[in-house]
Subunit: 309 residues, 2 copies
Amino acid sequence: MSLFTRKRSDSVASLGEQSLIATIRQWLGSAAPESPMGMGDDCAQLPPTSKRQLVTVDPVVYGRHFDDSIAPRHVGEKLLKRNLSDIAAMGGQPTAAVIALTLDPRTKLAWLELFYRGLAACARKYEVKIVGGDVAQAENHFSASLTMLGTATSKRVLTRQGAQIGDSLYVTGRLGGSLASGRHYRFKPRLIEGAWLVKQSNVVAMMDLSDGLGKDLRSLTPNGARARLDQNSLPLNKGCDVRAALSDGEDYELLFAVSAQTKHVIFQRKWRQQFPRVPLTRIGELVSADDADEPSLNLECYFGYEHLR
Amino acid sequence: MSLFTRKRSDSVASLGEQSLIATIRQWLGSAAPESPMGMGDDCAQLPPTSKRQLVTVDPVVYGRHFDDSIAPRHVGEKLLKRNLSDIAAMGGQPTAAVIALTLDPRTKLAWLELFYRGLAACARKYEVKIVGGDVAQAENHFSASLTMLGTATSKRVLTRQGAQIGDSLYVTGRLGGSLASGRHYRFKPRLIEGAWLVKQSNVVAMMDLSDGLGKDLRSLTPNGARARLDQNSLPLNKGCDVRAALSDGEDYELLFAVSAQTKHVIFQRKWRQQFPRVPLTRIGELVSADDADEPSLNLECYFGYEHLR
């Protein structure tokens, strides 16, 4: 479905801001709680919390993250799930979100309805409350920026810091070909897996794969170390080669490091008992940057997705 | 200063995403705490809180909220202060914020630096930590959407709900002419005043004035009531008439209702002792919608700013 329309009566301009906001609340339905916990005031209110809190923000931009070939409900789902994947990467659980919409007045109402209904269905599934937002105008543009709040599910939170030389590297699922296959909007954020991993004390660092393993790995690799990957062990999606797995991006899988002392047979067995249908692959390890071994894969050659280039 | 440049070496495209984000952290300086409380991971972490939490989101969009005639540092300040005004309107105090940037690769680096330095100086002044963000690309576009978190300063939070027939209406400061005078970016969010008002038990409802008193008043007016304003009492900015005070918008003053039992002389004296330099004006009261009195001001004629029209 095309995003913009020339017919004023089909566009958001036919409603104006006030009615549009009221209509959005209807589309969101039970995903949008009543005031004071929800929309309708200067701020939304959230209850106090005894847990550590998490905050992340990610947008979808027309022409960058989606185009007219993607169903609007999938765009809405993608917006929510991109952020859920960040919460998953810390071992957290989502609580509430706000959405800032910046759109051309020619945006088609029917498109926007499907976008919000897709987002709302997804929010209900993952128990996220949409508590507020903003609508602003811009010409020839549509973007929606979602800020997601969450809480820790455990006493600790996993970050990108914490891996050491000797640690093994694991990824969930399979990599590559996300855009071509539609997985970039059909993926399932690894919330349950992340919340389980944060409770395993031998998991020492974690992140989600959004720009491609080749680029993202650098964030998990401490100074003085490098990642030595076994290119034959990389879990490839159908039709993908090593380059695709390293560079395509938007995999939304978890990448994590487990400590050198780990008994991998036992760790992997525990995983299979918990998540029999989610592949888990040990893809390599962290070695000293001066390690003389010939790398099986020269990561310098794989850049992943670099924005603004 | 113009926002976009044709010279690639002067633009954000010359840096690319990774270096741009590192550069933004430098510009933010001490306003951006270190990881894990700040940028650099999938989510920012915030400590638990025993207070009720507040969340709001507001953007600045090029061509809507600012243009090339506004100094970039004022744009950054405005982005922060628009959100602070929402926190003030609930009687809260700000804690942390995340910023989603959507920009053309031709955005001038020098412009962006001044924008972030202005925002950072303002964040330090109001003790807000910039804990995270996102950078995304869009053609011919610049917008920045800021999500602000805060906490209640008192056991209660003031909302737009709670006013009754018989209550008096007050506004802080003076109204009108915000765009022409530059007050739309020079204003001071009423955080201290809001935090004081939330502790006065006779203040029963509050909001900030962003779209103009004529429009915003409707949100504070309960069903079955109407606002009877004394047009001679409206606190006008220099060069402004009643229409400007009701319709211009972007005043970022507080509008609130105090209960019918209030001794106004005492209330106003307490205010003057606290805030000798901030005007406070009783502008009218809430009467029954069927009240036969001829209104001195027919609010139906003043619409305020309606977006997307």
